[in-house]
């Protein structure tokens, strides 16, 4: 191979190792040294060493093993160098295999422990998101700072504070107790959904309307937790629902923003531009949970023991949308029925707002507007509330009120593509 050929080959190998092995290396070092800080730095050093050495030495036959061993050596070097820890503590950290023998259960995996530690409820939500992207996702602090429009030193401090709390308060690096598992899995899903949504509906005037890097990372981490939590364990249905929801949303990404940077709503999207493979995978996942078609008597397959949670219901709603070739073929009564189920487990005004949008298609915009108007007190600061009202008022021919609602929605919209879309709709009012 020519030299540039080798360089490209090594670069691909390192990228792949980073995607596949980063979380495993950090997790295995955290387990051994009981310190996230050491694990993170040693993992980063090991990858830097790989970048230096692999072009000359060749790609090792087992890159993951090479990286773990190299990182462990770096960690030991660092602990030996460190002055701030007293000798007794240093010694204890260097004892091999200090882990008491606890058998790893069927659903235990070091990476899963790492995910639960990073998403621990005792950490602030912002810290959970940042820590998960750094420790499990392997994003650099600079990348995370950019994604959340925070300057790099502030993001570094946020991550450091979180690591300090984990160490000082002794947030454990282990699987939650079985009784806590549903709540803790739900907590991880909340973090991953936040990452996904920030990618899908990026906020801030200078940002791209869609941050594909964040949506891809959220999907990758959701696939990881789904692979680690086998079918049948508590909450696995919700993990599957979350993955399906993300895939069916991601499938529409290309069709969702026009070439001029304007949001394209579902009814105006070019459905041929949807990613058919992602739609297919999402549909299969929804079908595996027997949610879709249940209300219209088409249920088939194995019955699920858990009652469907919010992510499964949201995924089912998206499955109904994405199975219509044309907006006019949408099975709106089915969507309303799924929202009715969702309202029973999540009676929040945002869910009621989305239900009203479906109701408009079944019972007409006047009926929907009556429900939407009842949500004003709770949702006055939410751009989607005003955008929904604007659209319903427009359909009812109440232009001046519609215009006022569009103005308010534009004022509140944080996403550039959405603001552009709302402005055009407003300016089209007669």
């Amino acid at each position: 191979m020519s030299e540039p050929g080798i360089a490209a080959h090594v670069a691909v190998a390192i990228t792949r190792a980073h995607q596949n092995e980063w979380a495993r290396v950090v997790a295995s070092l955290t387990k051994r040294f009981r310190d996230l800080d050491i694990a993170e730095e040693a993992a980063a050093e090991a990858f830097a060493t790989a970048v230096e050495r692999w072009p000359a030495d060749g790609i090792p036959p087992n890159p993951g093993g090479w990286l773990t061993t190299t990182a462990a050596r770096k960690a030991i070097d660092r602990i030996r160098r460190e002055k701030k820890r007293d000798d007794k503590y240093r010694e204890a950290m260097l004892v091999l295999d200090d882990e008491p023998l606890e058998p790893l259960g069927a659903i235990d995996d070091e990476r899963l422990r790492l995910l639960f530690t990073c998403c621990h409820p005792a950490l602030a939500m912002e810290a959970r998101v940042a820590l998960t992207l750094r420790m499990v996702g392997g994003l650099t602090v600079a990348e995370i700072a950019r994604a959340f429009l925070v300057n790099e030193s502030a993001m570094a401090r946020r991550i450091t504070r979180a690591k300090d709390k984990i160490r000082e308060a002794r947030i454990p690096f282990r699987m939650p107790a079985a009784a806590d598992l549903p709540v803790r899995v739900d907590g991880v899903l909340t973090v991953l959904f936040l990452v996904f949504n920030e990618g899908y509906l990026a906020t801030g005037p200078g940002t791209d309307p869609v941050r594909a890097d964040l949506t891809a990372e959220a999907i990758r981490l959701t696939r990881l937790i789904r692979a680690l939590l086998p079918e049948g364990s508590p909450s696995s249905g919700e993990v599957t629902g979350m993955l399906a929801l993300m895939l069916l949303t991601e499938a529409r990404r290309a069709a969702r923003v026009s070439s001029s940077g304007e949001l394209v709503t579902l009814d105006e999207q070019d459905r041929g531009a949807w990613d058919a493979a992602l739609v297919r995978e999402g549909h299969e996942l929804v079908r595996s949970r027997v949610l879709w078609g249940e209300t219209s008597g088409e249920a088939s397959g194995e019955a699920s023991s858990e009652a469907p949670g919010r992510y499964q219901l949201l995924a089912a709603i998206n499955a109904v949308h994405t199975s219509a070739r044309d907006i006019r073929d949408t099975d709106w009564p089915q969507i309303v029925a799924l929202y009715d189920q969702l309202v029973t487990i999540d009676p929040s005004p945002v869910v009621a707002l989305n239900r009203a949008i479906a109701v408009a298609e079944v019972d007409g915009p006047d009926v929907a507007l009556a429900s939407v108007d009842r949500l004003g007190a709770a949702l006055d600061g939410y751009h989607a509330y005003h955008a929904t009202r604007a659209d319903l008022l427009r359909r009812l021919g109440r232009s001046p009120e519609s215009r006022a609602a569009y103005d308010r929605a534009i004022e509140l919209a944080g996403n550039t593509a959405e603001a552009a879309y709302l402005s055009r709709r407003r300016d089209q009012l007669g």
Binding site: Y89, A92, E168, P172
Partner: protein
């Protein structure tokens, strides 16, 4: 590893403490007593006690000579430390589970804060 579990309440302690009525107070006392017994039995209990009203506090600054003595609590606040437990727990998850029990028993929010640990962990 030791944690302090603190409970906060208003500055004035009436004969009902911070409880709305006599029955609630009696039940909270009984539940808290039972919780303390469980802590003892499981080896988590280090110390627990309730504090007299914040108004009875005095602040002393001995960094100057003679020491300055001031009436009242260190910080002006709407709520003051009213009582605390010191517990022994393996990690924060265990401490949080115990705090949830304690909170339910005493009918107040509980702040869980670790003590500094210099010993090797593990």
């Amino acid at each position: 590893m030791q944690y302090m579990m603190s409970v906060y309440g208003g500055p004035e302690l009436t004969e009902l403490g911070n409880y709305p009525d006599k029955a609630t107070m009696a039940q909270a006392m009984a539940d808290t007593g039972a919780f303390n017994d469980r802590l003892q039995a499981a080896g988590h209990f280090v110390y627990a006690n309730g504090l007299a009203s914040a108004a009875s506090a005095t602040v002393v600054d001995g960094q100057v000579d003679p020491p300055v003595v001031t009436d009242g609590p260190y910080l002006e606040s709407k709520e003051y430390l009213g009582g605390f437990w010191i517990i022994e727990a393996t990690d924060l998850d265990q401490a949080l589970a115990l705090a949830a029990e304690g909170s339910k028993a005493c009918r107040g929010k509980v702040e869980v804060r670790p003590f500094q640990a210099y010993e090797p962990q593990g």
